[in-house]
Structure formats: structure tokens, C-alpha cells
């Protein structure tokens, strides 16, 4: 099984790398029809399949809540899965240029930064499983939302500067990017809320909170506050476009900080 996981890991890395390259080349190509547009999502799908094999092997040996690298890997798989599900319908092809390298980074990081986590007695295992699942799926959705936000800002900047390079017409329209970012946040926010609430429940069992755990919690709350503000501002005051994209990126940055703290200072729930 370990050999299978290793093979799946390396094949996944190769396929993610190839997909990232094709997405990037398609973004910067000058003109003419390109087969890259067809092959990039296929390669991403192939990478996700290898990735899924690796995750499945991992799940057969350990629960995700007890393994940071498995949770990290699962988040990347979710991001790739969300992209593959929505890119055609939401016309978000170019977002793959960000999702693919992020998934690759998470996959590679999951191989090398992981550490066993400890689960304190008294924590409900089923609730913890839902907590982890919600957070993992939420991270996947927010990664794609962040990618859309980055592309929005890039496209908007070029339009304002009136510099119409030949590559920017490969990007989705501003409206498409704005709408996609908003929808992904709307879907991800309940998951985030659930993750934050259950995280608060678990914190009741913490006898003493370490610096890293505190930082994780604070960044988690900050994510919730920032993304809630983005959604409320859009609903109440019609804040969208550039400001909404910046807000989304701030929220996604908080998510990544949570992941980063986890990576640098691993520690289990209840620790």
C-alpha cells in the first residue's frame, strides 16, 4: 500500500506540474486555437485521480483528523475537485492556472511537513470528523475563490491601464470572475462557520492553549470575520468588484495562515 501511495504521489506531482504548465502557457499564448485548453483540465483531472488514490491509501491507515498531511492533501484534492466541477459551467477555465499550482504545492507539502496529531480524550470523534471535513472542503472552495479574485484584480488592472495584451483575452470576464468568487464564498461560508463553531466547542476541552493553537484559532476567527464582512458588504451596500476581490483575498490569506501555522507547528485537536 505504501508503494502504491508513493507511486500515486509522484504521478500526481507530474500530472499537476504538467497541468500547471499547460494552464500557464495557455494564458500567455498569443493567438490561434490551442490544444492546451483541452489538455490542461484533463491533466488536472488525472492529477486529482492520482491524488485521490494517495488520499484513499492514507485514509485506510489513519483518520484525517489525526494527520495534518492527510488533511492538507485532502484540502488540495477538494480545491482541484471544485475547480473541475465548476470551471466549465462558470466559465472559469483560466482559474486553473492558480488552482493547479496550489494543489501541487499542498500535495508536495503534505508529503514533507506532516506530523501526527494527538486527539485529547473527551472530544467527540464524529464531531471532530465533521469539523475536519468542513474545514478541508472550505479550504478547497476558498482556494478557488482566491484564484478567481486574483484573476479579477489582474484583469481589472489591465482594463484600467488600457493595456490590452493578447493574453488577457484568455481570462474570464470581470463579471464572471466576480460572480464566481461570490458564489464560492457563499457555498464555503457555512462550512467555515461550522468549522469555527465546532472549533470553539473543542477549545472548551483545552486545558491550556499553546501559542500555535492560539494563532490558528485567531486566524480562523479572522477568516470568518473578514469573509462575513465581504458577504454582508455585498448584500447590504453592493460592494463588489475590486474591493470584494481584495476582501476575499484577505480572507483566503487568513485561511492559508491557519494552514501555514499547522504546517510549521503541528499539533492535534485538543492540544
Amino acid at each position: 500500500m505504501a508503494t502504491l501511495a508513493t507511486i500515486a504521489f509522484y504521478l500526481g506531482v507530474i500530472a499537476y506540474s504538467a497541468a500547471s504548465t499547460l494552464f500557464f502557457l495557455d494564458l500567455v499564448r498569443r493567438d490561434g486555437a490551442s490544444t492546451r485548453a483541452t489538455w490542461a483540465p484533463r491533466l488536472l483531472g488525472l492529477a486529482a485521480a492520482f491524488h485521490a488514490v494517495k488520499v484513499a491509501v492514507g485514509l485506510s491507515r489513519e483518520a484525517p483528523m489525526e494527520s495534518l498531511h492527510l488533511a492538507l492533501s485532502f484540502s488540495a484534492l477538494c480545491a482541484a475537485g471544485v475547480y473541475l466541477l465548476v470551471h466549465r459551467r462558470a466559465n472559469l477555465f483560466a482559474t486553473g492556472a492558480i488552482v493547479a499550482p496550489v494543489a501541487l504545492t499542498f500535495l508536495v507539502a503534505s508529503q514533507f511537513v506532516g506530523a501526527e496529531a494527538r486527539v485529547e480524550d473527551g472530544i467527540s470523534r464524529p464531531l471532530l470528523a465533521f469539523h475536519i471535513a468542513a474545514n478541508v472542503l472550505g479550504v478547497g472552495l476558498f482556494v478557488v475563490a482566491g484564484a478567481s479574485g486574483i484573476l479579477y484584480l489582474f484583469q481589472e488592472r489591465r482594463l484600467r491601464a488600457k493595456q490590452l495584451g493578447t493574453s488577457s483575452n484568455r481570462l474570464p470576464s470581470l463579471d464572471t470572475l466576480d460572480r464566481a468568487t461570490h458564489r464560492l464564498l457563499v457555498i464555503g461560508f457555512p462550512l467555515l462557520t461550522f468549522g469555527v463553531v465546532t472549533g470553539a466547542v473543542f477549545s472548551g476541552h483545552w486545558e491550556a492553549m499553546e501559542g500555535a493553537a492560539l494563532a490558528r484559532s485567531l486566524f480562523g476567527y479572522a477568516t470568518w470575520v473578514v469573509l462575513a464582512a465581504v458577504l454582508v458588504a455585498r448584500r447590504v451596500a453592493g460592494v463588489r468588484g475590486r474591493r470584494a476581490a481584495y476582501g476575499t483575498l484577505a480572507g483566503v490569506l487568513c485561511v492559508l495562515l491557519v494552514v501555514l501555522v499547522y504546517a510549521l507547528k503541528p499539533g492535534g485537536h485538543g492540544s
Binding site: L174, A237, R240, R242
Partner: protein, 457 residues
Amino acid sequence: MITVVGLSHKSAPIGVRELYALPKERVPDFLLDLVGRPEVGEALIVSTCNRVEIVAAARAGSDLGRVAAACRSAFAGLSPEAPADGVYALSGGDAVRHLFGVASSLDSLVLGEPQILGQVKEAYEMARRAGTVGAILHRALSRAIHTAKLVRSQTAVGSGQVSVPTVAADLARRIFGDLGGHTVLLMGSGEMAETVARLLAASGARLLVVGRSADKVKALAEAVGGEAHSSSELGTVLEHADVIISSTSAPGFVIERDAVARARRARRGKSQFYIDLAVPRDVDPAIEKLDGTFLYNIDDFSRIVSESLASRWREAERAQAIIDGEAKGFDRWADGEQATPTIVALRERIRGALRVELDRSLGGRLRHLGGPERAALETMLEASVNRLLHLPTTRLRRAASLESLDTPSFPELTAALDSLFALGEGDAVASELEPSGPDAAPLESVPSGEVAKLGSR
């Protein structure tokens, strides 16, 4: 191998070009008349607003100079009273490169425009239907279309937009994506503004027209297929408009920053794209600072068009290299094709001689052979012709290549073959080739036992 005779926007003004323009319904008759001439074997005509060109191939035995002269004469017949100063004639490699360049849009008024390829294809299709396209033009046009596709996919000669209306429509799509369900507001008249509005409306946008004069607004709305509104409704209409095209002759700003800010609030932050084509400007440039509001004026559009054109011209060099390579390939094929008439005639002569002998035998001592045996003999005859002529065919084609230094040369070889086999002299002379006397050894002389063996194979 081919010749091109005609004129284009580079050689003649529109006043002359329109005299030569050939309506589609007259094309078949014109082409049939042209290939009816003794020199012209194949022909097609490309007739667009920017060029009228005959592309023709010579009939076997006729040289390109005479074909070009025949085409010139036919071309002059299109408009006997028109000046012929701008009419050019290209032959051989120059004609091939020109044809490939035309199909690839390197010779177009707007470099890299995509319509010309469709027009070339249409010209080819019309000639094909008229029955005036043979092997040479078929090959030439196929390669021209292939080359045009290569140029389009491997260079950026067709990238970017090169007219103000298409740039405006492209920008609108970059902001809003699909324009269906979006609203376009047109203020003021002007050919360019109306073209932009029509282009956006054709993409599915709803069109509103606003102006001070009710009659003019109504007429304009009818002309562009929009809804008429008075200028007093501008504030309300502005709230609903996603794209605003302004081209009035007002001396000051027609759309102020405050009005746009109000509209933006009412639209709850939805993007707006302002296209200001007026001089002096209609739209306050301060609106550019508002989030989600994009403003392009006539200078912005002109600069984008210039940049696109400059980029296309830079790519034209790479496109020309592709064309040269492909034209060279066609030249090689065309050189080899020079040998085709001789090869065909030689095959016919050999096959004819064998056929006479075979028929004689099948009608004599071999008359008892059944269908399968006769079919086997037919196959054997074809195989014999192929085997016998394989080496001469290869050597003839090699000698026909312009780059060949072989001796004897291609003309010497064809002359020798013509002389030895009387290739150009018909069947009557060919009877001289019939064997007679003691050397003649028809199949009838083969012992019947051998023939029986042959039939059983």
C-alpha cells in the same frame, strides 16, 4: 505552373476596382469562357471589395506567358472601358507566393483580417462547381488554405482588434462576458457609435437610444433596432445601462461624475463601461476613479488599434517565412508534375500495346479462359506496366525538378521519349510500333500447356 492576373487595393483605387468586380452569378460563365481558351487549363476568380484576381493554370503544352496573356485579355473583357494601369500578372513561384499570401491575409487592406480566407474558399468552391478546377488549382488552393491556417495558428498576425467598433465590443465582452441580457445606451449619432451599438446589439444586448431631439432619437432607434428615450430620462436610463456609447456634439460633458456615482449606487456596484467617441469629450474623465467604472475615449481606442496593427506587422515577417516554406513545397510538387503528361502518355502507349496483344490472344488461342483467368491476366498487364515504368517515372520526375542537375536533362528526356514512342502523335502513328515479322511473338505462340498453367495460378 499557375498565373495570377488582377488588381487589388494596392494597385488600383476603388473607382477602378469596382469596374472589374464580377457578380457571383456571372462567375461560372466567365470561368467556362476562360478555360475554353486553348492556353488555359484551369481557372478561378477571387472577387472581393479589395481585389479581383484570376488564378489560372496552363493547359498541357502551353506556357505560362500565353496563359497570362489570355487571362489579361479575359480580365480586360470584364470592363473594356476601365483603365488597365493597375492590372498585374504574376507567374510561377511569384504567383504561388502571392496566392498563399492573399489566403493568409498578408495582402489584405487590414493585415490579418480573417474574412479573406473564407472568400478564397468560396472562390475555389464556385470554380469547382463550374468544373474549371483541375489537379493543379486543387493542389494550389488546398496548400493556400493549409498555409493560411498555419499562419493563423503559429503567428499572432490575426491577434488583437484593429477597428474601433471591434475593440469596443471586445472590451465589453472582457467586462461583462456574454452580452445577452445586458443593456447598451446610445447617446448621439455618428457612424462609429452606431456601428458599435449594432455590434453589441448583435451579441444579444438590449439597446436604448437617448437624445434631445425626439424625432432624431426615434429615427435613430428605428435604424439601430433600439428603444427611444428622451434626454430628460438620462438619469434613470443610466442606472439600467451596462455599456454607454456617447457621441454627441455637445460642447461640454454630457455625463458628469455625480450622475455616474448616483447610477453606480442605484446599480449596487455593478460594472459600467463608458465608450466616449465624442470630441470634445462627453464623459467626465473623473468617473474613471469610481470602482467598477471603465471609461475609454477615442484616443484610447486609436492607441489600441495602432498597437494591434503594429503587433500584426511584426508578426507578418514570421508569416512570410511560413508562406515561403510552403510555397517552396508547392514548387517542388509542381516541378515534378511537369513530367506527368509524358508519364501518362508513356503509360498509355505501353498499356495500349500490351492490351492489343492480350486482346488478340484472348480472342484466339486463349478464348477458352474463364473469368478468373482473364482477370488474372488483366492484373498481370497492369503490374507489368507498373514494373516496366517505375524506374523511368522516378527518373523523369527527378529530372523535372528545377534543382536537378541530372543529365540528360528533363527536356532531353521528354524529347527522346516523344520521339521513340511517338507520344504526341496519336494511335495512327502508334500502329508503327506494332510488331511484325519474325520478331513478333504474340501470346498465341505460347504453348497451350503454359497458358493453362497461367490460368490456374
